[in-house]
Amino acid sequence: MIFMIASILLIMIGLYAVLVKRNVIKIVIGLSIMNSGINLLIISMGFVKGGEAPIIYLKDFFKPGTLLVDPSKIVDPLPQALVLTAIVIGVGVTAMALSLIIRMHSKKESLEIDDFKELKW
């Protein structure tokens, strides 16, 4: 349960940065923190008490058949596979946002969100 509360705290820190900060780069950092919090939350849902990593390998290399990890005692591998996808998408989103910021800075030479008012009505 402590894992879930900690990851909710991370998500809230990221959302706070998105809501309050004025600097565009700080907003992107907030999005990135939120992304990590969500990934940790999904991984912590697959936790099993006393479980090990979902890699099954031999205990003794010369004695085939002896498993180091019991297949009934490993954590849920499905959330980890989903999070692997989510991490890659997060990298893509961050890179895209940073390149947009480079264009914005070259247009107005400013990083404050208040200076970009063209889309307001």
Binding site: I8, G46, F47, I56, L58, P77, L78, I89, L98, E109
Partner: protein
Amino acid sequence: MRKITAIVFLMIISFYFILILGEITFGEKYEGVSEHYVEKGIQENRGANIVTSIVVNYRGFDTLGEVTVLFLTATGISFLLGSCKCKNPMKRIKGSFVLRAATETLFPVILLFGAYIFIHGHLTPGGGFQGGTVVASGFLLLLLSNRKYKVNHLPLTITESFAGISFVSIGILGLIFSKSFLANDIIPKGNWNELFSAGFIPLIYIAVGLKVGAELSGLLGDMFKTTEERK
């Protein structure tokens, strides 16, 4: 005032979050589809790393979409930054002596380590995406240390297209010679826990690793372009 409003808003959201998550049993044994992956994954795929066999085999189509998303990101960034007529020139600084000397020795080792990670993706923690990122970090070191260094985009594009085409054609081979797209029955699966095992999983992860490495290196090269080069 903004901060107080934001904090109240966040407290309401986190209250409902905790209320929902309190319903979920935590730390218990799972069942359903994950149980099938854990119990039958080794017999069906012969891959020691179950996460890899889920990502590449059971959810291989999803991974193809993920690679496509990354490709779209790289294309969008080169579209955004490729023709940027920026007003103030960005200057690249010469790296310090420690950085330059370390890069000269570390760069081949980093490339080798990245290749190790994506070749052994079905045996150890790691895989194509992680190995590709490690390869791109080697190029990042080169860009940071050497002021004159430019990423040559042509070989990167060729590598990327070749890797993408080989991923799709492995999938189509499964469609022709077996039951479905990306079916893991064409190549003999070999013995579990060896390097040449798990059917096409290492082949696909090598393709993914090369593709991710090439894409991220090209992306870094786009971001490091100075004003004169963009014109």
